[in-house]
Symmetry: C2
Subunit: 173 residues, 2 copies
C-alpha cells in the first residue's frame, strides 16, 4: 500500500512577492487611518505637521502599490497584517497612557518610528524580490516609497533629539 | 459648581523608558522561543546557522536588558508587546503557507528582517532616551545590542541576495 506524502507547496518567489504586496497594502491603508489620530494627539506643532505631511505621502504610497498590483495583473487587495495591527495597537496604548503627559510626544515619535521601520523592512524585501523577478517598474515604484519612509524615520529622529525628548524630561521634573 | 478636569498624566521620559525596556524585554523573550522554530523550518544550512547564532546573541541581549532593569532599580518584568506578537505571527504564517515550497527560505529571511527592524527601531529609541536621561551605562548596553541587530539584518540581506531569493525563483520555474 502506497502512502501518500502531503503534497509540498510549489509556491515560488512571485507568490511570496504578491503576498508581500498585499500585506503592505493592508498596512498602508491602516496607517492612513492612524496618522490623523496621531496628528490630533500630538502636542508639538512640528510633530503635527510631520504626521500630516506623512499622511499625504502615505496616500500616494497606496496608489503606487495599486500600480504594482496592476503590473502583476492582480486586483489590489490587502491581506490582514497582524504585524501592523500590533504596532499600531502600541501607538494607541501610548495615546491612552500618556494623554496630557510630558512624555506624550516622545512616545508618539517612538510609535511612528516603529511603523516606519516595519515599512522599511517590508519595502527593502519587496525591492530585492522584484529585482530578482526582473520587475524593473515595480522596483522603481517601491524604491520611491522606501526613500520616503527612510526620510520620515530620519525626520522623526531629528524631532526626538531636537527637543521632544528633552521636553519629556524637563516638564516631568 | 466646579467641574473637575480629568487629572492629566504626569508621566515623563523615565516612565516611557521603563515601559520601553519592558516592551523589548517581552519581545526578546518571545524571539528566543521563535528562533528555534525558524531554524528547524529553514532549508538552507547557512540560514539555519544564522538563526542559531542569533539565538545565542538574543539570550545575551535578554541578560543585558536585565542589567538595564537593575540600573533603573526595577524588577525585570516584560509587558505584552502586541507588535512583536503580530510580527512573529506573520512568521508562523510563512512557515505554514510555504512549508516545503521553493520560496520558504526567502519568506523566512523576510520574517526575520521584520523582527530585526522592529528591534532596531526600539533600541534606537531607547538609546536616545537613555542618553537624554544621562544613563551612560544603559546607553552602552543598548548600543551593544543594537549593533548585533544591525549586523543580523545585514547578514540576512546578504543571505537573501546571495542565493536564497534566486533559488525561490528557479525552483519554482
Amino acid at each position: 500500500m502506497a502512502t501518500t506524502k502531503p503534497k509540498a507547496s510549489t509556491k515560488g518567489l512571485e507568490d511570496l512577492f504578491l503576498d508581500g504586496v498585499k500585506d503592505i497594502y493592508y498596512a498602508e491603508k491602516k496607517i492612513t487611518k492612524a496618522l490623523p489620530k496621531m496628528a490630533k494627539a500630538a502636542e508639538s506643532d512640528k510633530l503635527v505637521a510631520g504626521f500630516k505631511k506623512h499622511l499625504a505621502e502615505t496616500e500616494a504610497q497606496v496608489e503606487r502599490l495599486e500600480q504594482v498590483f496592476k503590473l502583476l495583473g492582480k486586483p489590489a487587495r490587502g491581506k490582514t497584517c497582524p504585524a501592523i495591527d500590533g504596532i499600531l495597537e502600541e501607538g494607541e496604548e501610548i495615546m491612552d497612557d500618556y494623554k496630557g503627559a510630558p512624555a506624550l510626544d516622545a512616545g508618539l515619535v517612538a510609535a511612528a518610528q516603529a511603523v516606519e521601520h516595519y515599512e522599511i523592512a517590508r519595502y527593502g524585501t519587496l525591492i530585492a524580490w522584484a529585482e530578482q523577478l526582473g520587475m524593473t517598474d515595480a522596483v522603481n515604484l517601491l524604491k520611491a516609497t522606501l526613500a520616503e519612509e527612510e526620510a520620515t524615520d530620519e525626520a522623526l529622529t531629528q524631532l526626538g533629539e531636537g527637543g521632544v525628548n528633552q521636553r519629556a524630561m524637563q516638564e516631568a521634573a
